[in-house]
Amino acid sequence: MSIWEYANPVKFLRTSGTVLPWIVAGAALCTIGGLVWGFLTPDDYRQGSTVKIVFLHVPAALMAINAWLMMLVASLIWLIRRHHVSALAAKAAAPVGAVMTLIALITGAIWGQPMWGTWWEWDPRLTSFLVLFLFYLGYMALWEAIEDPDSAADLTGLLCLVGSVFALLSRYAVNFWNQGLHQGASLSVAPGERMSAIYRYPLYLSMLGFFLLFLALVLIRTRTEIRRRRLAALLAREHRA
């Protein structure tokens, strides 16, 4: 029993079909629970009620980066071992990751307006997220543009590899280019810098919820892609007959 057995689409569909309801339920529970709990926390003494947007902003930003990481791993698996499910999972993750990036950017802007006095600032973190969003757009556009599914998987995989290197490079290059306004890591482990427990636990719950939500959406979209591929194969066979 190895993980490679799930490269078989039938097995993938069966297994993902059984775990999917649980993941969806967990995602709904954790996301709603985390957000409601976060909403009921008391106001911060300096930031007032705007602090509550952190329960949406930080998990979305976390998943935006990790979605790209997952696409990179899935693309590598496709390029090396040529498992179709892997390529389809990378394709399925891209729009989810792009939406997460957009959520992080928009909630950041809504929070930044009262706190920093500006909707947008050319800060390293903000800028690198914008660049990441552009990478997502290019990746999705390339999937749409190529008709042959195998070539599309190959070329987008290559783009994902090269793009990862340059996205990372951009992340550190923008640090160099402009001084930051964005605060440092939200979840520091150093005792003095940690956020207070009443904010921290709802945030953990919300992050878990967003992770499960991402997992559920990617699984659903991958299943759809597999079925679409199967449908296309059936139609092609019909044509030939």
């Binding site: 552009l134 556009a141 543009a145 340059f166 996205a167 490079l169 290059a173």
Partner: protein, 218 residues
């Protein structure tokens, strides 16, 4: 390899359009900017490094689809792929030819445009140097974008979407180098980073581009 380089250069010069076009585009961009932002008050000399770099980048982008598209249409790309020369070498030579035709003229004429945009005299040398170091990376990354989109009918717009985010680090370090040079700061750090990006790009991207070409020629 030398034969291929000469062939590409001759084609670029004789077929017309390719050689002077990107230079003319660069000139037009640099002419339009003062109309847009106003020419007075020293603000032009402040934004000149950025404008010159963005202009060079767009001029480079303009001619990228020529790298492989024409050869793909008339089938000579298939011949090149079956030739004894490795495809990685073909990509590198084509990127070099593209750089000689578009990048090098930009480097040579950039001080002239720097004068047009009131770039401080101290920064001129850094402008030329940063473009000389940075534009080969632009050509090489562009060859990767062109290789990915070569089979597509309307690949031009898509290619800009794919290639421009890849240009971000080069642009940042290139423009930063000129900006630091203009106000008399030390330029070593951006210079080293820019050279590092270019060298790594030249070393690694041909493999990715050749892999993309193999997929497209399959």
């Amino acid at each position: 390899m030398r034969a291929l380089l000469w062939r590409d250069l001759r084609l670029a010069v004789r077929a017309g359009g390719g050689f002077g076009l990107s230079l003319a585009f660069f000139l037009i961009v640099c002419t339009l900017v003062p109309f847009g932002v106003g020419a007075g008050g020293g603000q032009l000399s402040r934004i000149a490094p950025g404008i010159l770099w963005v202009g060079a980048l767009l001029a480079c982008l303009l001619s990228l689809d020529r790298i492989f598209a024409l050869d793909h249409e008339d089938g000579s790309l298939d011949l090149l792929a079956t030739a004894p020369l490795p495809l990685e070498g073909v990509v590198a030579i084509k990127a070099l030819a593209h750089w000689l035709v578009t990048g090098l003229p930009l480097v040579v004429f950039s001080p002239l445009l720097g004068v047009l945009l009131h770039l401080p005299d101290a920064a001129q040398i850094w402008l030329v140097l940063s473009l000389l170091i940075g534009t080969p990376a632009l050509s090489m990354l562009g060859a990767f974008g062109a290789a990915i989109t070569v089979g597509l009918r309307r690949g031009g717009l898509l290619m800009s979407l794919l290639v421009l985010p890849l240009y971000v680090p080069t642009l940042i370090f290139g423009a930063e180098m000129v900006r630091r040079g203009a106000i008399g700061l030390d330029v070593t750090t951006p210079l080293v980073f820019l050279a590092g990006i270019t060298l790594a790009t030249l070393a690694l991207v041909p493999f990715a581009a050749a892999a993309a070409l193999r997929v497209n020629l399959r």
